[in-house]
Structures are given as C-alpha cells and as structure tokens.
C-alpha cells in the first residue's frame, strides 16, 4: 500500500489541491472566494500535466550536441527535427527508448509538450478568472453584494415583487 503511494507521490499534492479547490467552490457563498477555489482546481490540473512530462534523469529539453564527429554532421538536421521529435515522441516509452538510442546518451530529456500545453491552459485560466472577476464587479454594482444567499434573496424578491 505504502509502496503504491510512494511510487505515485507526485499525484498526492495534486489530489489534495484539486479536492481543496472543488470543496471551496461548493462550500463558500462568496463569489470571489469561489473563483479562488476555481483557480486552485485548475492549477492542480496544470501540475498534473507538468509532472507527467518528467522523465527520471531527464534534462531540460535543449538539444545537446555531443561533439562526436558523426553527430556534428547531423547537427543542422537534428536541430531542425529537434522540436518535432521532442513533441511527437513525448511520453511514449517505446518511442522514447528508440529516440535515446538514436541520439547521444546525454540527450535524455524531459517531455516538453505538457509544458507547452499548460502554457495555453494557463492563458485560458487567466482569461476565465478575468471574466469571472469582471462579472463579480458588475454583480456588486447592481446588487450591492457578492454573497450567494443575499443574491438569491434579491432575485427571489424581484420575482415575487414583479409578479403583481
């Protein structure tokens, strides 16, 4: 049991963050705090992606020219294909082995693709948070509160009040 947990230690903080975020979203009635929970929830997923890109003993994915004569000749070609192989062969262990055998031994690198994906996801998260906060500002302007209970009460009185 413990072995299983230790083997997968990277998931433990992710799960804790994720559950905290979800709990905050559900438990709080404050609209800003709910967005905090939402951001926490999203961030845990960013971590999930980042950790799956890690390869043990892997270096940053910068192409290393090993300096051997035959490899130097491949330099330009390797550089051109660098991004492609790094992105494509990613987490696939079988491809990865073939890849490392092909290049010099020191070219073991972590998979950069999840990082790139998460850059995009972070932008999406920021945009969501910005729109969410802008909505909260507008809600505060027209209702005078950002507490869920008070908002529901205001909407309810509006509904019953306007139905003559």
């Amino acid at each position: 049991m413990l072995d299983i947990l230790i083997e997968r230690f990277n998931y433990i903080p992710i799960i804790i963050l994720m559950m905290t975020g979800l709990y905050v979203i559900i438990a709080t009635g404050n609209l800003v705090k709910r967005l905090v929970g939402l951001s926490l929830f999203q961030t845990s997923v960013f971590l999930l992606y980042i950790t799956i890109g890690k390869v043990f003993g892997g270096q940053p994915p910068i192409l290393v020219d090993s300096g051997h004569g035959e490899d130097a000749g491949h330099g330009a070609e390797t550089a051109a294909h660098g991004a492609e192989t790094a992105a494509g062969y990613g987490a696939d262990a079988a491809h990865y082995a073939a890849d490392t055998a092909h290049y010099a031994a020191e070219a073991v690198y972590s998979n950069p693709l999840p990082h790139v994906l998460i850059l995009t996801a972070i932008v999406v998260g920021v945009a969501t948070l910005a729109v969410g906060l802008a909505l909260v500002v507008r809600i505060r302007e027209s209702y005078g509160t950002i507490e869920d209970d008070a908002l529901n009460a205001a909407d309810y009185s509006l509904e019953t009040g306007s139905s003559e």
């Binding site: 979203i25 999203q42 992606y49 799956i52 809600i139 209702y143």
Partner: protein
C-alpha cells in the same frame, strides 16, 4: 457546390478548413475596432456569409473526396495540430454556419434594442470569438485543441450572456454560475485528455484511437473516459449537469439565446460523440456499458424531468430552455442505443432541434422587441397583434411536440424506429410520454398567444405591430424549414446517416 467552389479564390478551397476558423477570429478583432455598432454588424454579417459558404464548400469536398486532413502550419498530423473534416463533423459545420448566418441577420434590430450603443461593437466582437470557437471545436482533430476552442467559445459566451444585464440583472448571476460550472466541466475534460495522453503519448484523436485499440484499455483510460464524459456532458447540458442552462438562456439577450440554443450545446454533443465513438470504440466493454446504463438512462430521465419542469415555468424563455434540456435527452437516448440507426436518429434530432429552437427563440425575441414581453401570461393575444411572428412560433412549437408535417415528427419517428430495432419498448414509451409533456407546455404558450385577447389600455386594444423584416426573414426561413424538411427529409436524413456510418464504420 462546385459552382460555389469555383467562385472562391484558388487558395480558399484548399485552405478552407483553416479559413473557416481563422476568418471569424480575425474579424472579431476588426469588429472590436469599429466605432459604431452597425459597422461591426456589417463585419459580422460578411464573416457569417464567408463561413456559411466555406462550410458548403467543405461539404462538397468531403462528399466527393472523402476525409480532409489539413496539417496546420505544415506540421504533419500525429505531431502537429490536424484539422479534420469528415462526414461526422461536416453537418455540424453546416449547422453552425447556416444557423449562425440566419442569427446574425436577425441580430441587428434585436441587439440595437437590447445592448447599449457603445457596447455593440464589442458585443459583436465577442460573438465572433464564440463563433470561431464553436467552429474550431467542430473541425479540429487534436484533443487538446478541442479544450482550447471549447474555452474560447465558452469564455466569450459568458460575456455575451452577461450582456443581457441591460434588460435584467439576473443575467449577471446566470452568467457567473455558468462560468463556474463551465470551467469545472472544461477542467474535467482536460484531466481526461491528460490521462489519455499518459496512456497513448499522442494528442491526435485519430492516432489516439489507433494506439488505444492496439494497447487495450486499463484503469487510466477508463478514468479518462469518465472525466471526458462528465466534462463534455456539462457543456452539452446532459441531464443532471444542466443546471446552468435555464437561467443562462432565460436572461441572455434574445439573439444570444437563439444562437446558443441552436449551436453551442450541439457542438459539445458532437465532441462527446467524437470521443465516445471515434477515440474510444463502442465495442469496448465499459463504453458499451455506459451506453445502456448512462446515456440512455440519463436521456430518458431528462426527457421526463426537464419536460415536467418546463410545464410549470412562468418565463417563456425559461420554459423553452427546460425543453432544450429535455431535447438533449432525446439525443442522448439516440447515442445510448449504440447502433448506427440510433446515432443517426440522435444526430437528425440534433439538426431538427436547431431548426425548431432557433425559430422559437427568434419569435420570442420578436415579441420582446415589439412589446417587451417575456412571461407566458404576457404572450396573451399576440396572435392578433403580431400574426406573422406568432405563425412562425406556432409552426416551430408544433414541430417541438412532434406533430406530423413537421421535422419534429421525422426525428421522433426515426428515434422510435431505432428504439424498436433495439427492442427498447420502455424507450418508446418514454418518447411518447415526453411528447405529451411537450404538448402540455407548448399548448400553454399557444393558448396564451391565440386564445386570449390582447391586453387593452384605457379600453383601447393593443395595435398590430409588424416585426422588422430582418427579424421576420430568418425566423420565417427556419419555420418554413421545419415544414420543408418533413417533405424533403432526404438531405438531413442522408447527412445524419452518413455521419453515423462514418463513426460506426466497418461494423
């Protein structure tokens, strides 16, 4: 269609898959810069025409030349982002393109009435981003790209729903709740994609399908399936995950409701089909189990519960929004049958539902434009004061019930046939009961419109008011389409069947 293709510049036909997404995105930036609302509307209209033409061109290309695979930026598919057009997503592109165009024509008077003049240009800009996002979700062949486009469309949807605040401040809370739930849904989806990436090492959906088939499934792919179904189910308003929808549709500007009701949930539903049928295979045991025990059950419950809820609504748009949840249930039931007949019936209902709900929400928008009414009892006497709009509303409403001579009957007929083929008598019974409930809530609306007398003010009965032609024309086209496609069902049925065959192919 060849004629259309020949009118385009030489490169346009080749690059149509990319252009259909890129044109609205660029147009969004141009629209935002326009100093006046109607100019931004002009940009939007031109864009919508271009997109509609491109979707027709793509339909022509796919039906003659088979699957189109477009390598974005010249990176070949398994590595780069692939735009992929096949028989499954081309009907969706066509739907978004054509219905989008009709909605944009409708938009000018409606938006001018509901959105402040200084915000109009930005409103159209946000709409175009949403439009681009929906087209992007439909056309992309890359799983992570689906997430990005889904969020592009969703985030702009939150803003344009919130613009309804000028008429009713509850649009703000509706939009906020949609934002929180929509983001949870999208995050669930992206967790699922992450698991799939762990299991396969690729993000290309076609490639994923091949690798999953070769490697078999394990706990990771099962978790991925669960996360993706929940995430996309939330976006598609699958029954227990639909709570964001009624308020969002009820308080958004009328144009936004008409557009979203006929496209947004449909696109999410398409993405669900794409993952369930193409990436995962329907023969895999946990997938086929989810058909019977998840999608079919959820669909039937939605048909019942949401229809009952619709009967008791006082706000006309909320009523139709609950009805939309019920109609998503019909599509889920079609999907849940897990047969080509069931899936094609579900897809047919998807297209037909867009025709009905587009016309219905446009008509409600026309009523709101002329008389500012939105509650069911305020619809009294509109049959006399706005006969043309009321006729369109009636035709589409009868189609929603599934009365013969309308497309609603066609798609329910196919659903019933598919259910009988599968031996699901209970599903047929559920379809019948749900149709009766639909009759109950549509009858409430129609009774108010036709049977009651128009309100009078100081003994003077309200005068007849004609809606602007830009409102009447698209509404009329959709209403006529509801009848036309009953008599000429072949184009839509053919598209739905070809789509189902494309994903269930080889069985």
């Amino acid at each position: 269609m060849d004629m259309l293709a020949s009118l385009l510049p030489a490169g346009a036909a080749v690059h149509a898959p990319a252009l259909i997404v890129v044109v609205p995105l660029i147009a969004a930036a141009i629209a935002a810069l326009m100093p006046r609302g109607p100019w931004a509307w002009g940009v939007t209209l031109v864009t919508a025409i271009v997109v509609a033409v491109l979707s027709l061109v793509l339909l022509g290309q796919v039906s003659t030349g088979g699957v189109i695979s477009y390598a974005m930026g010249g990176w070949p598919p398994p590595w780069g982002i692939e735009l992929r057009v096949d028989m499954l997503n081309v009907p969706l592109l066509l739907l978004v393109g054509i219905v989008g165009l009709l909605c944009v024509i409708y938009a000018l008077p409606s938006v001018a009435d509901e959105i402040g003049p200084r915000k109009e240009a930005l409103f159209y800009s946000a709409f175009l981003v949403c439009f681009a996002g929906l087209l992007g979700v439909t056309i992309t062949g890359d799983a992570f790209n689906v997430f990005v486009f889904l969020e592009i469309s969703s985030i702009s949807t939150y803003t344009i729903i919130a613009m309804g605040a000028a008429k009713d401040r509850r649009a703000l809370t509706a939009s906020y709740n949609y934002l929180v739930l929509g983001t949870i849904g999208a995050t669930f989806f992206v967790i699922g994609v992450g698991f799939l990436y762990m299991a396969t090492g690729t993000l290309n959906m076609a490639d994923m399908a091949v690798i999953l088939e070769a490697n078999g499934h394990n706990r990771v792919t099962q978790a991925a399936f669960a996360f993706i179904v929940v995430g996309l189910g939330l976006k598609a308003a699958m029954f227990p995950l639909h709570v964001w929808l009624p308020n969002a549709y009820a308080f958004a500007p009328n144009f936004v409701t008409a557009f979203l009701a006929s496209t947004a949930t449909k696109v999410a539903f398409y993405a669900l089909i794409r993952f369930v049928f193409s990436v995962f295979h329907p023969d895999v045991s946990f997938v086929s189990m989810s058909f019977t025990w998840l999608f079919a059950v959820v669909g039937v419950v939605a048909m019942m519960v949401a229809s009952v809820q619709a009967v008791f609504q006082t706000d006309a748009r909320r009523l139709l929004a609950y009805s939309s949840v019920a109609q998503v249930g019909y599509m889920m039931l079609g999907l849940g049958m897990g047969t080509a007949a069931g899936l094609s019936a579900g897809l047919l209902h998807l297209m037909n539902h867009a025709l009905m709900k587009g016309a219905l929400f446009m008509a409600l928008g026309a009523f709101a434009l002329n008389f500012g009414v939105r509650r069911v009892k305020d619809l009294a006497g509109l049959g006399q004061t706005m006969p043309a709009s009321a006729m369109a509303f009636t035709v589409a409403g009868l189609s929603l019930v599934g009365v013969p001579l309308t497309v609603g009957f066609t798609s329910k007929w196919y659903l019933v046939t598919a259910a009988l083929d599968r031996g699901w008598w209970w599903a047929v019974a559920a379809l019948m009961i749900s149709s009766l409930l639909a009759l109950a809530y549509v009858a409430r609306l129609l009774a108010a419109i036709w049977m009651e007398t128009p309100p009078s003010h100081h003994g003077e009965i309200a005068k007849r008011r004609l809606a602007p032609w830009m409102v009447l024309a698209p509404m009329g086209i959709l209403a006529v389409a509801n009848v036309y496609f009953f008599f000429h069902a072949d184009p839509l049925v053919g598209l739905a069947r070809a789509a189902a065959d494309a994903v269930m192919g080889g069985q």
